[in-house]
């Protein structure tokens, strides 16, 4: 079921995937629900230093994602049925439509496609480039939709074997969000830099 307009175009890139890339993506698939710890650092031009949060990400099947932030302040964000709901302690829940946040839509697309091992879905939304080795691979996803690419320039996913370790979302305006996933989440430095995180993602220490 196509969820967004850009996903409903015929799959021009699906056939362009090499068998190895296809196999790699397929091997990442997990049964829903899947949960993983995450730590995120956001480098934004409006901020002097990165914003760091941590918590748990959950894929509940279909296009239903939940992001539970624990640090520094609890917040529950859930994406389901094309709608985003934000809940903070002591505040009224806020809702907005996914269609108003195209950058969130591509994140959802990439995340769900990776977690379900759906190479075709990934290829309809992004052009995909794979590099590295099986033990230390990297996927670079570039949104096909020009409008979306105007806000999300690219997404880099680093992994080892059948595990994604790290997602780096490059905004077109130069902002960067780095998500460390699974065991790597615990290794988020207190004062991260773009460089130190890149090293972490690439499997360095």
């Amino acid at each position: 079921m196509p969820l967004s307009a850009n996903a409903s175009v015929p799959e021009p890139g699906a056939s362009a995937l090499t068998p190895a890339t296809r196999a790699l993506i397929a091997s990442l698939g997990q049964p829903a629900p899947a949960r993983t710890a995450f730590a995120e650092a956001r480098f934004m031009h409006v901020l002097d230093r990165p914003l760091v949060i941590s918590g748990e990400l959950a894929w509940l099947g279909g296009d239903h994602l939940e992001r539970q932030v624990r640090q520094p302040r609890p917040e529950l964000a859930s994406i389901a049925g094309g709608k985003v709901t934000l809940q903070r302690a002591g505040k009224r829940a806020r809702h907005f439509s996914l269609s108003r946040a195209p950058q969130l839509q591509v994140l959802l697309d990439s995340f769900v496609a990776l977690l379900s091992g759906d190479a075709n879905r990934l290829a309809t939304t992004f052009t995909i480039r794979r590099s590295g080795t099986a033990a230390q691979w990297q996927l670079t996803l570039v949104p096909r939709d020009a409008h979306v690419a105007g806000s999300v320039a690219s997404i880099e996913v680093d992994g080892a074997g059948r595990q994604s370790r790290c997602m780096r979302v490059h905004q077109a305006n130069g902002d960067l969000a780095v998500d460390l996933l699974g065991p790597l989440a615990a290794k988020m430095p207190t004062a991260p830099t773009r460089e130190s995180l890149q090293v972490l993602c690439r499997g360095g220490s």
């Binding site: 901020l47 914003l51 949060i53 094309g82 269609s99 950058q103 969130l104």
Partner: protein, 810 residues
């Protein structure tokens, strides 16, 4: 003989050229107004006066409600269904049957269409406000953005101090790490306290429908929009243009083929009803025209006579309109409709001439014998209609000018032009055998003297015993909107929280600022009413623009640049915001401190200012604020808002005001009728130079008129303006019947011709108006039924009450 033929051809040519010239003149000059107001009498009470301005012009009545729905492929062809629903408002099956659908993606598509439509209509000068629920920064144009601190109530309770700023900045930081970051980032430097969002919330309709995919949706998966037109709601032509504009914009959107767009609201209904009425009238008109032609052909067996006899009527109509365009700046559509109806009398003139032709005699000499009587008929009708000119109501004045000019032109062109064109050789109808028998029958009818008394008694009894109210004051009841459309309107109105069209809360003050201040003072009371569920919502003008005093008070609370910078620095201590990030915010606050407060005039150029302009009107040296009301549950509580305000706050019931206006209008018509009756009695008595003869003409006419009234009342029909106009037409026809039946020439053949002419007139009137009586639209039925009954009663009574002719005395 040849010379005469050439003369006839020349005369015909000149006449036709004259008509063509008149036609051209009319087409060039005619300016038809469809605004109901110009047909109404001058208002007398303050409420009526306000109504006259607000009928169609008030904020509520200019609102169009739009619903976008997925076209069901399973139901009837979507395009056809859409066209049908749009053109005639019939609710297709798809309206009630939910499609098997894939909800999220369909909603997303509809939301995209909804937003696309807003984008196209937003800057169209035909619409003052276009809302689909999505928050648009464009609502406040960027030039006015610094005004947000003067427009929003935040500063009333909350100074821009360190504590407040710190709390806000921490929240923004959380926002930046949340999935909503992308929505916010652009706004952050200029508006870290999100004042724009607070204003957007404040300006959203008071009772918003549910949001899906960023726009309003109904429970039935329709994307909902509100469009306020600049054109008044009851001007069908202007509304048609507004609706067409929306439809075109919609159809130009990619993906619009998969969805249907439906309209509701007063403007849409006025378009719909006008179209439906015209459609039915046209349809019936075509059938009865064919019947009318067949009848005349049967009666006179001459195509040329038939064609020629249409010339006086055409001349009458064109001359009538031409004079109207010379005398009045705009001619009202209703005047024309009524006028053409009343002009039906003029069809009698050529018919009389045709029936009274004698064998071997040319039309000119036939008409000479007839002319004095015909002239009496024309003159008395014209003199009677003069009363309408004296009524003082613009619409009725126009009606009088049109019909008087029309009748005179029809009469004189029949007498002096038509008769010179008619073929010389004709069949004398007096020789027809069936006619002789019919005349015989008529002459032998018993004519007891007690008939008038009996009829009068019956009339009185029926009028006394008749059920229900006598008058129909609700003009809308005559052109009703189909019930399923009203249901849909109620449903959409409830979903959108759109205001009622019936009630307005009127605030009055010497100045616009006074109105705004009054509105601000009233707001707490209104809030209490809403909390008590006395009303669902009540929107006051100050919601869109606070008074200058309040704006200045807020301005005084704004910190100066140094203070704000200091507080901001303290508030952002320990937070990672880049230094100098909030400079645009500081600049805006500084700018806001020096702004000249926003006034309605300065505001008027913006979309929201347009919205305000609809709620703030200047009149007679004072200003009125119009509060729109939706969902009235406790009318008494709402009325009580005005208690003790000396009339500065009052609830206007537009329905009651319009009904009182219609009643006032009717009083004018009745007064005019009374004067017309007196004039008629005088004219007829003078023309016939005998009270007794005048009695024979006027008594059957009067009795028949009241008999129609009594029979309709007995049938439970409430009498409206349209019934009165139809009664006047029937009365005009009846006057002819009575005049001609009363005429005693002592010549049996001439008496037969009179019967022939009258029969043709009666049958043609019955044909045309009898057809209308079957119409499903009440206004057409009212006219059709009244004239048909009238013609029948006038005919019967003028025969039964005519003086005994020589034939029967023999």
């Amino acid at each position: 003989m040849k010379g005469r033929g050439r003369g006839r051809a020349a005369l015909l040519l000149v006449w036709l050229l004259l008509l063509a010239g008149l036609g051209l003149f009319v087409v060039k000059r005619l300016n038809v107004s469809t605004d109901l107001r110009s047909f109404m009498p001058a208002p007398t009470t303050p409420d009526q006066r306000l109504l006259m301005e607000q009928v169609g012009d008030g904020p509520g009545s200019r609102l169009l409600l739009l619903a976008l729905r997925e076209a069901c492929p399973a139901a009837t062809a979507p395009a056809a269904a859409g066209k049908k629903a749009a053109g005639h408002g019939s609710v297709t099956r798809s309206a009630t049957v939910a499609c098997a659908r894939d909800t999220p993606s369909v909603d997303a598509r509809l939301a995209a269409l909804s937003q696309g439509l807003v984008g196209k209509l937003q800057h169209d000068p035909r619409y003052s406000q276009v809302l689909d629920g999505s928050f648009a920064l464009g609502a406040l144009d960027s030039r006015l953005l610094p005004y947000r601190y003067l427009l929003s109530p935040t500063l009333d309770t909350q100074p821009l101090d360190e504590a407040y700023l710190a709390d806000q900045l921490r929240q923004r930081l959380d926002d930046l790490s949340s999935p909503a970051a992308g929505l916010l980032q652009g706004l952050l430097p200029r508006d870290p306290i999100l004042e724009v969002l607070k204003l957007a919330e404040q300006w959203a309709p008071p009772k918003s429908p549910q949001m899906r995919d960023g726009v309003w949706f109904s429970k039935r998966h329709e994307a909902l929009l509100l469009v306020q037109t600049v054109a008044p709601g009851f001007d069908p032509t202007a509304q048609q243009q507004a609706i067409d504009g929306i439809r075109q914009a919609f159809q130009a959107l990619p993906g619009s083929a998969g969805a249907t767009l439906e309209f509701s609201g007063p403007g849409y209904f006025s378009v719909l009803v006008a179209a439906q009425t015209r459609q039915q009238a046209d349809w019936i008109g075509r059938i009865s025209t064919v019947g009318f032609i067949a009848l005349l052909l049967l009666a006179y067996r001459s195509i040329s006579s038939l064609l020629l006899s249409a010339l006086p009527i055409a001349s009458a109509a064109l001359a009538g309109i031409a004079v109207l365009t010379l005398v009045f700046p705009a001619v009202h559509g209703i005047t024309l409709a009524f006028g053409f109806t009343l002009l039906g009398v003029a069809q009698e003139y050529p018919i009389r001439v045709l029936s009274h032709r004698r064998a071997g005699e040319d039309a000119l000499s036939s008409v000479r014998a007839l002319w004095p009587l015909l002239l009496t008929a024309i003159a008395s009708a014209c003199i009677a209609y003069l009363a309408f000119y004296a009524s003082g109501v613009n619409g009725l004045k126009q009606l009088a000018v049109f019909t008087i000019v029309g009748l005179l032109v029809a009469g004189f062109s029949t007498r002096y032009l038509l008769v010179r064109l008619l073929p010389v050789r004709v069949r004398d109808v007096a020789d027809m055998r069936w006619l002789a028998k019919a005349r015989d029958l008529v002459d032998r009818l018993p004519r007891p003297r007690w008939i008038p008394a009996l009829v009068a008694l019956a009339i009185v009894l029926m009028l006394v015993l008749a059920p229900g109210p006598f008058w129909q004051n609700n003009l809308a009841a005559l052109t009703p909107v189909p019930p399923q459309l009203l249901q849909r309107d109620a449903r959409l109105r409830e979903a959108l929280g759109a205001p009622d069209v019936r009630y307005l809360l009127v605030l009055q003050a010497p100045s616009a600022q006074g109105v705004l201040a009054l509105s601000e003072r009233l707001q707490p009371q209104v809030d209490r009413l809403i909390a008590r569920h006395a009303v669902d919502a009540l929107e006051l003008p100050s919601r869109y623009l606070p008074s200058v005093a309040v704006q200045e008070a807020r301005q005084r609370k704004l910190p100066d640049r140094a203070t704000l910078q200091h507080e901001l620095a303290a508030a952002s201590k320990g937070l990672p915001f880049r230094a100098g990030l909030f400079q645009p915010f500081v600049d805006d606050v500084e700018a806001a401190r020096k702004l000249t407060p926003l006034t309605p005039q300065r505001y008027a150029k913006t979309p929201l200012g347009q919205r305000l302009a609809a709620m703030l009107v200047h009149r007679d040296g004072h200003w009125l604020g119009l509060g729109t009301v939706s969902g009235v549950h406790d009318l008494a509580a709402l009325r009580a808002l005005g208690a003790g305000s000396d009339g500065r706050v009052r609830l206007l019931d537009l329905k009651a005001a319009s009904e009182s206006l219609v009643a006032a209008y009717r009083t004018r018509i009745l007064q005019a009728l009374l004067v017309a009756t007196v004039l008629l009695v005088l004219t007829i008595t003078f023309a016939l130079r005998s009270l007794r003869r005048a009695w024979h003409v006027l008594a059957p006419m009067t009795l028949a008129t009241f008999l129609v009234l009594a029979v309709e009342r007995m049938a439970g029909i409430e009498i409206s303006l349209f019934h009165l106009i139809a009664l006047i037409l029937a009365g005009g026809l009846g006057l002819h019947y009575a005049l001609f039946f009363e005429r005693d020439t002592g010549d049996p053949a001439e008496q037969r011709r009179t019967l022939h002419a009258t029969l043709v007139c009666v049958l043609s009137a019955l044909l045309v108006f009898g057809m209308l009586a079957w119409a499903s639209i009440p206004v057409l039925r009212a006219i059709g039924l009244t004239v048909s009954l009238g013609v029948a009663f006038h005919f019967c009574l003028s025969i039964l009450m005519a003086p005994h002719s020589h034939a029967s005395e023999d």
